[in-house]
Structures are given as C-alpha cells and as structure tokens.
Amino acid sequence: MQDREQLERWLASEAAGQEDAADAAFAHLFAAVPKVEPRAEFVELTAARVWAERARRRRFAVLGWAAAVVIAAAGSLAGYAAAAPAGAWAIKTGIQLMSHAMPWLFAYATEAMNLWWVAARVGNHLALAIATPPRAAGLVAVELVGIFAFFALQRLVRWELRGEAHV
C-alpha cells in the first residue's frame, strides 16, 4: 500500500504544481520499477571482448609499425640504389661549375666597384659646384618668383571668371 500512497502523493503534488515535492515523490515511486539485470556472464563476456579488442588493436599497432619500418628501409635502399650514380654526377658537376665561376665572379665584382668609385667622384664634384651660397640663394629666388607668378595667375583667372558671370 506504500507505493499506492506514494503514487497519490506524487499525483497530488503534480496537480498542485509543487515541483520539488513531485520530484521527490516520483523518485521514490520510480525506485519500485524493477531494473533489468544483465545475464550473470555479461561482465565476463564484456571484459573478455574488451580485452580481445585491446589485444587486436595492439597487434595491429605493432604490425603497422613493423610494416612502416620495412617500407621505409626498403624505400631508402631502393632510392639509394637508383639515385647513387645520378647523385654523384650532380655533385661533381656542381663543384666544377662553382670552381669555374669563382674567378669570373671576382673579376666582375672588381669592375663594378671601380665603376661605383667613378660615379661617386663625379657626384661629389657636381654637388660641390652647385652647393655654393650664391647659387643656393639664386635657386631660392627663382622658386619664390615662380610661386608668386602662379599665385598671381590664379587671382587673374578668378577675376576673369567673375567678370564673365556678371555679364
């Protein structure tokens, strides 16, 4: 009869909207619902399957590593066997080219440096010739005249446009 009372208590709490009381009463009632017990051998069978699966994965991992090592070793050997003559020729040719190119490289670098010095001296003379105080003053004066002329021209154009508008 206890469960019947619990059921009525739960239904009454539910109808009254008492959330906590309904939750507690229903939890008590639900405890009477029987649990489905797995077969006695379930744990042993599952543990054995887990163990077998783990062993299988371990075997696969070991086999995978072994296969990877064998493939890498075989690949290296095959690569070496195929590429050894070509590789030796490439290294030899590279060294020869480098050794032939070095004197030319030095010669062109010396020539370039001479040209650079000549250009530097010409530039220096030009700068000395231009950068005297009277010449600098003259340049500034010419620039000022230019600015003034531009300003005056702008004013003239504006007056001209206004005159046309009045007409």
Partner: protein, 192 residues
C-alpha cells in the same frame, strides 16, 4: 576497510592496461548501461549487445576521457551515442506491456519478504503500469526520466550528457512527469 577506487582512478588504470580495472569498470556499469539501453530498445538481448558495444567504444576512447569530468556522464554519453546509432537504423518508438514482457521485463522487484501477496500484486501492477507509461513517452522525455530517476543523475550531469541547457532538462522532466501522471490517471491509477 579500504575505500573502493573512484571511476576516474579505474579509468586511468584501465588506460594503462590493467585488466582488473577494466573488469571492475564493466562490473560497476553493467546494470546501469543495460537498463539505460533497455528503456529505448525494449529487448533485453539487444540491450546487452548494445551495452557491450558501448563498453567497447568506451574502452577504445578511454584516452579521450578527461578525469576532471564525472565518468558516469561521459560513459552515458558514449552509450547513448551507440544506442542512437542503432535506433537510427532500426527505428523503435513506443511499445506495449506484452512486448515489454517478451523483451525481458520481469515485473516488480519489490521487497518480497515483507509485503503481503496483495501488496506484491499491487506493486507489480503499478510498476508495470509505470513501465508501460514510460515506454509511451517521447524518447527525449524518457531519456531524462531514466537518467534522473533510474541513474540518479543531477540536472547539470544530464544536461552535459544530452548536450542540452539545464533549463531544457528541467522542462523535459516536468513535462515527462505530467505526461506520466496523465497516462497513469487515464489508466485508473489516480486518487481513489
């Protein structure tokens, strides 16, 4: 008296390769797992098969388990995914009491030593009616009811397992209970 190792400790040992720890975890979660799955498939043998699949997946992915989380939440999440995968292929909705009995549901597990035969019969009927009403609920409602009242999980734990906001879990529980009350009342289990 020694304290039994926690789920997280057992999981750590199992991950390190301990067969005993794996076995202990299986023993600890066998009944909850089978029960949880049974509420959705209503077939004892299938529930055991799916629970076993769940255990296999749990042990395969044990390296992804974060010990900061509660093991049971993570465990039920994995078992739930296995069940959902199965249900997607073989859709099962609600079921009748006869189907439940055929599936392996064996009636009430009341305290048979202290109850009268009348009480036992009444408890058995009530448990059966409750089981039948539960089977008629929408799967998402049934799920929260099972996790809350069968497995005793808290709202945040259920929320974590189902990936739902805690408020939604509370709403589902409230509606599920209302629906169960309505079904039981319509079957004559209301106040005398």
């Amino acid at each position: 008296m020694s304290v039994p190792p926690s789920d997280a400790e057992l999981a750590k040992e199992a991950l390190a390769g301990s067969d005993a720890a794996s076995r202990a975890l299986v023993a600890r979660y066998a009944t909850p797992a089978v029960n949880f799955v049974f509420r959705f498939v209503h077939d004892r043998a299938l529930a055991e098969d799916l629970a076993q699949e769940g255990f296999l997946r749990v042990f395969q992915r044990l390296n992804t388990y974060d010990p900061e989380r509660k093991f049971s939440s993570w465990f039920f999440q994995v078992v739930r995914n296995v069940t959902i995968d199965h249900l997607r292929v073989n859709r099962l909705a609600t079921t009748s009491l006869d189907e439940l009995k055929e599936g392996g549901f064996e009636g009430a597990a009341a305290d048979k030593t202290s109850s009268s035969p009348e009480d036992l019969a009444g408890q058995g009927e009530l448990a059966g009616a409750l089981e039948q009403a539960l089977a008629r609920l929408r799967p998402e409602y049934r799920e929260v009811v099972v996790l809350r009242y069968q497995e005793g999980l808290t709202h945040p734990e259920i929320s974590e397992i189902l990936g739902l906001p805690s408020g939604t879990v509370k709403t589902y529980l409230h509606r599920a209970r209302k629906e169960l009350a309505s079904i039981l009342s319509s079957k004559g289990w209301g106040p005398a």
